[in-house]
Protein backbone atom coordinates (compact mmCIF):
# COMPACT_ATOMS: atom_id res chain seq x y z
CA UNK A 1 0.00 0.00 0.00
CA UNK A 2 3.04 2.28 0.44
CA UNK A 3 3.88 1.95 -3.22
CA UNK A 4 0.30 2.58 -4.16
CA UNK A 5 0.31 5.79 -2.14
CA UNK A 6 3.26 7.14 -4.15
CA UNK A 7 1.59 6.21 -7.44
CA UNK A 8 -1.77 7.61 -6.42
CA UNK A 9 -0.19 10.77 -5.07
CA UNK A 10 1.83 11.28 -8.26
CA UNK A 11 -1.28 10.87 -10.40
CA UNK A 12 -3.35 13.10 -8.11
CA UNK A 13 -0.63 15.77 -8.22
CA UNK A 14 -0.62 15.73 -12.04
CA UNK A 15 -4.40 15.94 -12.13
CA UNK A 16 -4.43 18.73 -9.59
CA UNK A 17 -2.14 20.89 -11.70
CA UNK A 18 -4.52 20.52 -14.62
CA UNK A 19 -7.70 20.99 -12.58
CA UNK A 20 -6.30 24.05 -10.81
CA UNK A 21 -5.96 25.74 -14.19
CA UNK A 22 -9.56 24.81 -14.95
CA UNK A 23 -11.05 26.12 -11.73
CA UNK A 24 -8.70 29.13 -11.51
CA UNK A 25 -8.25 30.16 -15.17
CA UNK A 26 -4.97 32.01 -15.48
CA UNK A 27 -3.85 30.67 -12.11
CA UNK A 28 -2.05 27.53 -11.05
CA UNK A 29 -1.79 25.05 -8.22
CA UNK A 30 0.12 22.02 -7.07
CA UNK A 31 0.33 19.39 -4.37
CA UNK A 32 3.49 18.87 -2.37
CA UNK A 33 4.61 16.24 0.08
CA UNK A 34 5.87 17.91 3.21
CA UNK A 35 7.49 16.77 6.39
CA UNK A 36 5.38 17.36 9.46
CA UNK A 37 8.13 19.19 11.28
CA UNK A 38 8.62 21.77 8.55
CA UNK A 39 6.82 24.86 9.80
CA UNK A 40 4.69 26.89 7.41
CA UNK A 41 7.08 28.56 4.97
CA UNK A 42 6.98 32.30 5.52
CA UNK A 43 4.90 33.58 2.64
CA UNK A 44 6.17 37.05 1.90
CA UNK A 45 4.81 38.90 -1.04
CA UNK A 46 6.90 40.58 -3.65
CA UNK A 47 9.06 37.62 -4.69
CA UNK A 48 10.26 37.97 -8.24
CA UNK A 49 9.10 35.34 -10.71
CA UNK A 50 12.66 34.05 -11.15
CA UNK A 51 13.24 33.58 -7.46
CA UNK A 52 10.01 31.66 -7.00
CA UNK A 53 10.76 29.43 -9.97
CA UNK A 54 14.19 28.61 -8.62
CA UNK A 55 12.56 27.91 -5.28
CA UNK A 56 10.00 25.66 -6.95
CA UNK A 57 12.76 23.66 -8.59
CA UNK A 58 14.58 23.35 -5.28
CA UNK A 59 11.35 22.22 -3.62
CA UNK A 60 10.72 19.60 -6.26
CA UNK A 61 14.20 18.23 -5.73
CA UNK A 62 13.69 18.28 -1.98
CA UNK A 63 10.30 16.58 -2.28
CA UNK A 64 11.83 13.78 -4.36
CA UNK A 65 14.58 13.45 -1.78
CA UNK A 66 12.00 13.29 1.00
CA UNK A 67 10.04 10.60 -0.73
CA UNK A 68 13.16 8.43 -0.91
CA UNK A 69 13.55 8.28 2.87
CA UNK A 70 11.04 5.56 3.62
CA UNK A 71 11.66 5.53 7.35
CA UNK A 72 10.52 9.12 7.59
CA UNK A 73 7.33 8.60 5.63
CA UNK A 74 5.06 8.89 8.63
CA UNK A 75 6.06 12.52 8.83
CA UNK A 76 4.75 13.33 5.39
CA UNK A 77 1.54 15.16 4.66
CA UNK A 78 0.08 16.67 1.53
CA UNK A 79 0.34 20.43 1.20
CA UNK A 80 -1.89 22.32 -1.22
CA UNK A 81 -0.55 25.41 -2.99
CA UNK A 82 -2.87 27.61 -4.98
CA UNK A 83 -2.18 30.82 -6.87
CA UNK A 84 -5.33 32.36 -8.36
CA UNK A 85 -4.84 34.49 -11.47
CA UNK A 86 -2.88 37.65 -10.87
CA UNK A 87 -2.22 37.02 -7.19
CA UNK A 88 1.01 35.92 -5.59
CA UNK A 89 0.84 32.64 -3.69
CA UNK A 90 -0.55 33.29 -0.26
CA UNK A 91 -1.55 31.20 2.68
CA UNK A 92 -4.40 28.87 1.88
CA UNK A 93 -6.24 30.30 4.87
CA UNK A 94 -6.35 33.76 3.27
CA UNK A 95 -8.30 32.48 0.27
CA UNK A 96 -11.92 33.56 -0.04
CA UNK A 97 -14.83 31.23 0.74
CA UNK A 98 -15.45 30.55 -2.92
CA UNK A 99 -11.74 30.04 -3.63
CA UNK A 100 -11.43 27.54 -0.75
CA UNK A 101 -14.40 25.58 -2.04
CA UNK A 102 -13.00 25.46 -5.59
CA UNK A 103 -9.60 24.38 -4.26
CA UNK A 104 -11.21 21.61 -2.22
CA UNK A 105 -13.24 20.44 -5.21
CA UNK A 106 -10.15 20.46 -7.45
CA UNK A 107 -8.35 18.33 -4.85
CA UNK A 108 -11.28 15.93 -4.59
CA UNK A 109 -11.54 15.48 -8.33
CA UNK A 110 -7.75 15.13 -8.63
CA UNK A 111 -7.79 12.18 -6.23
CA UNK A 112 -10.95 10.83 -7.85
CA UNK A 113 -9.36 10.76 -11.30
CA UNK A 114 -6.33 8.96 -9.87
CA UNK A 115 -8.46 6.37 -8.08
CA UNK A 116 -12.25 6.68 -8.47
CA UNK A 117 -14.70 5.65 -5.76
CA UNK A 118 -17.92 4.10 -7.10
CA UNK A 119 -20.03 7.03 -5.92
CA UNK A 120 -19.71 10.46 -4.38
CA UNK A 121 -22.22 12.32 -2.27
CA UNK A 122 -21.78 16.09 -2.37
CA UNK A 123 -24.06 18.00 -0.01
CA UNK A 124 -24.39 21.72 -0.83
CA UNK A 125 -20.72 21.97 -1.85
CA UNK A 126 -21.52 24.95 -4.09
CA UNK A 127 -22.99 27.12 -1.31
CA UNK A 128 -20.07 29.62 -1.41
CA UNK A 129 -19.72 29.69 -5.20
CA UNK A 130 -20.78 32.54 -7.46
CA UNK A 131 -22.47 31.78 -10.80
CA UNK A 132 -19.22 31.60 -12.76
CA UNK A 133 -17.72 29.08 -10.36
CA UNK A 134 -20.93 27.06 -10.17
CA UNK A 135 -20.68 26.68 -13.94
CA UNK A 136 -17.08 25.46 -13.64
CA UNK A 137 -18.14 22.97 -10.97
CA UNK A 138 -21.05 21.70 -13.09
CA UNK A 139 -18.75 21.34 -16.09
CA UNK A 140 -16.48 19.13 -14.00
CA UNK A 141 -19.45 17.00 -12.94
CA UNK A 142 -20.59 16.60 -16.52
CA UNK A 143 -17.15 15.68 -17.82
CA UNK A 144 -16.64 12.95 -15.21
CA UNK A 145 -20.06 11.39 -14.89
CA UNK A 146 -18.96 8.39 -16.98
CA UNK A 147 -16.41 7.49 -14.31
CA UNK A 148 -18.60 7.46 -11.18
CA UNK A 149 -22.01 8.25 -9.79
CA UNK A 150 -22.39 11.71 -8.35
CA UNK A 151 -25.23 12.38 -5.95
CA UNK A 152 -25.45 16.11 -5.48
CA UNK A 153 -27.65 17.57 -2.76
CA UNK A 154 -28.57 21.20 -3.35
CA UNK A 155 -31.19 23.91 -2.97
CA UNK A 156 -29.92 25.78 -6.06
CA UNK A 157 -31.81 25.74 -9.35
CA UNK A 158 -28.71 26.05 -11.53
CA UNK A 159 -27.28 22.80 -10.20
CA UNK A 160 -30.48 20.98 -11.16
CA UNK A 161 -29.66 21.63 -14.80
CA UNK A 162 -26.74 19.20 -14.64
CA UNK A 163 -28.94 16.31 -13.50
CA UNK A 164 -29.40 12.97 -15.20
CA UNK A 165 -31.91 12.06 -12.47
CA UNK A 166 -33.80 14.39 -10.19
CA UNK A 167 -35.01 13.61 -6.65
CA UNK A 168 -37.45 16.03 -5.12
CA UNK A 169 -37.62 15.94 -1.32
CA UNK A 170 -40.51 17.60 0.45
CA UNK A 171 -41.88 17.70 3.98
CA UNK A 172 -45.52 18.11 4.87
CA UNK A 173 -46.92 19.78 7.96
CA UNK A 174 -46.47 16.44 9.71
CA UNK A 175 -42.68 16.42 9.86
CA UNK A 176 -42.47 13.49 7.42
CA UNK A 177 -40.19 13.60 4.38
CA UNK A 178 -41.28 12.31 0.99
CA UNK A 179 -39.25 11.75 -2.18
CA UNK A 180 -40.38 11.71 -5.79
CA UNK A 181 -37.82 10.95 -8.46
CA UNK A 182 -37.62 11.37 -12.18
CA UNK A 183 -34.98 10.20 -14.63
CA UNK A 184 -34.30 12.89 -17.20
CA UNK A 185 -33.85 11.52 -20.76
CA UNK A 186 -30.55 12.76 -22.26
CA UNK A 187 -32.26 15.04 -24.82
CA UNK A 188 -34.42 16.53 -22.09
CA UNK A 189 -31.39 17.14 -19.90
CA UNK A 190 -29.57 18.76 -22.82
CA UNK A 191 -32.65 20.84 -23.57
CA UNK A 192 -32.91 21.95 -19.98
CA UNK A 193 -29.24 22.96 -20.10
CA UNK A 194 -29.65 25.06 -23.23
CA UNK A 195 -32.79 26.67 -21.87
CA UNK A 196 -31.02 27.28 -18.58
CA UNK A 197 -28.00 28.94 -20.17
CA UNK A 198 -30.19 31.09 -22.38
CA UNK A 199 -32.20 32.25 -19.35
Amino acid sequence: IRETFEETFAAAARNFEQLAQQVFPGGRGRLRLVREDAGPRPVLGGQSADASEAEAAADAAEADADVEERDDEDLHGVEIEITPAGKSMKRLTLLSGGEKSMTALAFLFAVFLAKPCPFYILDEVEAALDDLNIDRFLRLLRSYREHAQFIVVTHQKRTMEAADSLYGVSMGGDGISKVISRRLPPEQAAEAETAGSAA
Binding site: I1, F5, T8, L33, V34, H76, G77, V78, I80, L92, L95, K100, S101, T103, A104, L105, F107, L108, V111, F112, A114, P116, C117, P118, F119, I121, L122, D123, E124, V125, A127, A128, L141, R142, R145, A148, Q149, F150, V152, V153, T154, H155, T159, A162, A163, D164, S165, L166, Y167, G168, V169, S170, M171, G173, D174, G175, I176, S177, V179, S181
Partner: protein, 165 residues
Protein backbone atom coordinates in the same frame (compact mmCIF):
# COMPACT_ATOMS: atom_id res chain seq x y z
CA UNK B 1 -19.49 -0.98 -9.13
CA UNK B 2 -22.14 1.59 -8.34
CA UNK B 3 -24.81 2.54 -5.83
CA UNK B 4 -28.07 0.83 -6.74
CA UNK B 5 -30.50 1.91 -4.04
CA UNK B 6 -30.88 3.42 -0.58
CA UNK B 7 -33.84 2.51 1.63
CA UNK B 8 -34.72 4.38 4.83
CA UNK B 9 -37.25 3.32 7.47
CA UNK B 10 -37.63 5.13 10.78
CA UNK B 11 -34.46 7.09 10.03
CA UNK B 12 -34.66 10.79 10.98
CA UNK B 13 -37.52 12.40 9.04
CA UNK B 14 -38.37 9.19 7.15
CA UNK B 15 -40.70 7.11 9.39
CA UNK B 16 -42.16 5.19 6.42
CA UNK B 17 -40.12 2.88 4.21
CA UNK B 18 -38.66 5.13 1.50
CA UNK B 19 -36.55 3.76 -1.33
CA UNK B 20 -34.34 5.81 -3.63
CA UNK B 21 -33.11 3.99 -6.74
CA UNK B 22 -29.98 5.50 -8.27
CA UNK B 23 -28.95 5.41 -11.92
CA UNK B 24 -25.62 6.27 -13.53
CA UNK B 25 -24.32 9.81 -13.93
CA UNK B 26 -25.39 12.83 -11.92
CA UNK B 27 -28.33 12.53 -9.49
CA UNK B 28 -29.50 15.80 -8.01
CA UNK B 29 -31.46 15.87 -4.75
CA UNK B 30 -33.46 19.09 -4.37
CA UNK B 31 -36.00 20.51 -1.94
CA UNK B 32 -36.61 23.38 0.48
CA UNK B 33 -34.71 24.00 3.71
CA UNK B 34 -35.48 21.35 6.28
CA UNK B 35 -37.22 18.99 3.85
CA UNK B 36 -34.87 16.05 4.53
CA UNK B 37 -32.12 16.17 1.87
CA UNK B 38 -29.15 16.03 4.26
CA UNK B 39 -30.94 13.33 6.21
CA UNK B 40 -30.41 11.22 3.06
CA UNK B 41 -26.67 12.04 3.18
CA UNK B 42 -26.64 11.08 6.88
CA UNK B 43 -28.38 7.79 6.05
CA UNK B 44 -25.60 6.83 3.64
CA UNK B 45 -22.90 7.71 6.18
CA UNK B 46 -24.76 5.80 8.87
CA UNK B 47 -25.25 2.68 6.76
CA UNK B 48 -21.52 2.74 5.96
CA UNK B 49 -20.81 2.42 9.68
CA UNK B 50 -20.47 5.99 10.99
CA UNK B 51 -19.56 5.71 14.68
CA UNK B 52 -19.79 9.34 15.75
CA UNK B 53 -23.30 10.78 16.32
CA UNK B 54 -21.78 14.24 15.86
CA UNK B 55 -20.84 13.45 12.27
CA UNK B 56 -24.56 13.07 11.52
CA UNK B 57 -25.65 15.97 13.73
CA UNK B 58 -26.84 13.96 16.70
CA UNK B 59 -25.72 13.87 20.32
CA UNK B 60 -26.51 10.24 20.94
CA UNK B 61 -26.89 7.62 18.22
CA UNK B 62 -30.59 7.18 19.05
CA UNK B 63 -31.15 10.69 17.69
CA UNK B 64 -31.37 9.11 14.24
CA UNK B 65 -34.63 7.34 15.10
CA UNK B 66 -37.71 9.21 13.89
CA UNK B 67 -38.84 11.22 16.91
CA UNK B 68 -42.44 11.90 16.00
CA UNK B 69 -44.32 14.84 14.53
CA UNK B 70 -47.84 16.18 14.42
CA UNK B 71 -50.12 13.20 14.26
CA UNK B 72 -47.36 10.60 14.12
CA UNK B 73 -45.75 8.84 17.09
CA UNK B 74 -42.04 8.31 17.37
CA UNK B 75 -40.61 5.19 15.75
CA UNK B 76 -39.02 2.49 17.86
CA UNK B 77 -36.14 1.75 15.50
CA UNK B 78 -34.24 3.11 12.51
CA UNK B 79 -33.11 1.01 9.56
CA UNK B 80 -31.12 1.89 6.45
CA UNK B 81 -30.17 -0.42 3.60
CA UNK B 82 -27.56 0.42 0.99
CA UNK B 83 -27.46 -1.81 -2.10
CA UNK B 84 -24.32 -1.80 -4.24
CA UNK B 85 -24.28 -3.21 -7.77
CA UNK B 86 -21.25 -5.45 -8.13
CA UNK B 87 -21.92 -6.82 -11.61
CA UNK B 88 -18.52 -5.60 -12.82
CA UNK B 89 -16.88 -7.68 -10.11
CA UNK B 90 -15.07 -4.83 -8.35
CA UNK B 91 -15.75 -6.34 -4.95
CA UNK B 92 -14.13 -9.68 -4.32
CA UNK B 93 -17.43 -11.30 -3.55
CA UNK B 94 -19.46 -13.82 -5.49
CA UNK B 95 -22.57 -11.64 -5.37
CA UNK B 96 -23.76 -9.38 -8.17
CA UNK B 97 -25.41 -7.23 -5.53
CA UNK B 98 -24.17 -6.38 -2.07
CA UNK B 99 -26.68 -5.19 0.51
CA UNK B 100 -25.45 -3.44 3.63
CA UNK B 101 -28.09 -2.97 6.30
CA UNK B 102 -27.84 -1.21 9.65
CA UNK B 103 -30.50 -1.03 12.32
CA UNK B 104 -30.75 0.61 15.75
CA UNK B 105 -33.57 0.67 18.28
CA UNK B 106 -34.42 2.99 21.14
CA UNK B 107 -32.77 0.94 23.88
CA UNK B 108 -29.49 1.02 21.98
CA UNK B 109 -29.51 -2.46 20.43
CA UNK B 110 -28.23 -2.47 16.90
CA UNK B 111 -27.03 -4.75 14.17
CA UNK B 112 -25.35 -4.90 10.78
CA UNK B 113 -26.23 -7.28 7.98
CA UNK B 114 -24.41 -8.13 4.77
CA UNK B 115 -26.77 -9.63 2.21
CA UNK B 116 -29.18 -10.44 5.04
CA UNK B 117 -26.66 -12.24 7.24
CA UNK B 118 -25.75 -10.68 10.57
CA UNK B 119 -22.16 -9.49 10.67
CA UNK B 120 -19.88 -7.16 12.59
CA UNK B 121 -19.09 -3.55 11.82
CA UNK B 122 -15.58 -4.70 10.86
CA UNK B 123 -17.01 -6.86 8.06
CA UNK B 124 -18.92 -3.94 6.61
CA UNK B 125 -15.86 -1.69 6.81
CA UNK B 126 -13.76 -4.30 5.05
CA UNK B 127 -16.19 -4.59 2.14
CA UNK B 128 -16.29 -0.81 1.82
CA UNK B 129 -12.59 -0.22 2.03
CA UNK B 130 -12.06 -2.58 -0.90
CA UNK B 131 -13.80 0.03 -3.02
CA UNK B 132 -12.08 3.03 -1.46
CA UNK B 133 -15.30 3.97 0.39
CA UNK B 134 -13.67 3.84 3.82
CA UNK B 135 -13.89 6.41 6.59
CA UNK B 136 -11.13 8.70 5.33
CA UNK B 137 -12.12 8.54 1.69
CA UNK B 138 -14.25 11.65 1.69
CA UNK B 139 -16.47 10.13 -0.95
CA UNK B 140 -19.20 11.75 1.17
CA UNK B 141 -18.91 15.50 1.73
CA UNK B 142 -21.48 16.60 4.31
CA UNK B 143 -23.14 20.01 4.29
CA UNK B 144 -20.77 22.74 5.42
CA UNK B 145 -17.74 20.41 5.20
CA UNK B 146 -16.39 21.08 1.71
CA UNK B 147 -13.81 23.61 2.92
CA UNK B 148 -12.47 21.11 5.47
CA UNK B 149 -10.06 19.71 2.86
CA UNK B 150 -8.43 23.13 2.68
CA UNK B 151 -8.44 23.88 6.41
CA UNK B 152 -7.33 20.40 7.48
CA UNK B 153 -3.77 19.36 8.26
CA UNK B 154 -1.46 18.02 5.53
CA UNK B 155 -1.51 14.68 7.36
CA UNK B 156 -5.29 14.34 6.94
CA UNK B 157 -5.06 14.91 3.22
CA UNK B 158 -2.44 12.20 3.03
CA UNK B 159 -4.86 9.82 4.78
CA UNK B 160 -7.51 10.74 2.21
CA UNK B 161 -5.20 9.75 -0.64
CA UNK B 162 -4.08 6.60 1.15
CA UNK B 163 -7.67 5.54 1.65
CA UNK B 164 -8.37 5.96 -2.04
CA UNK B 165 -5.16 4.12 -3.02
Amino acid sequence: MHLKSLTLKGFKSFPDRTKLAFGPGVSVVVGPNGSGKSNVTDAVLWAMGEQSPLAIRGQSMQDVIFGGGHGRKASQSAEVELVLDNSDGTLEMEFAEVSIMRRLDRNGDGEYRLNGARCRLADVLEVLSDTGLGKESHSVISQGRVEAIVTSKPKDRRLLIEEAA
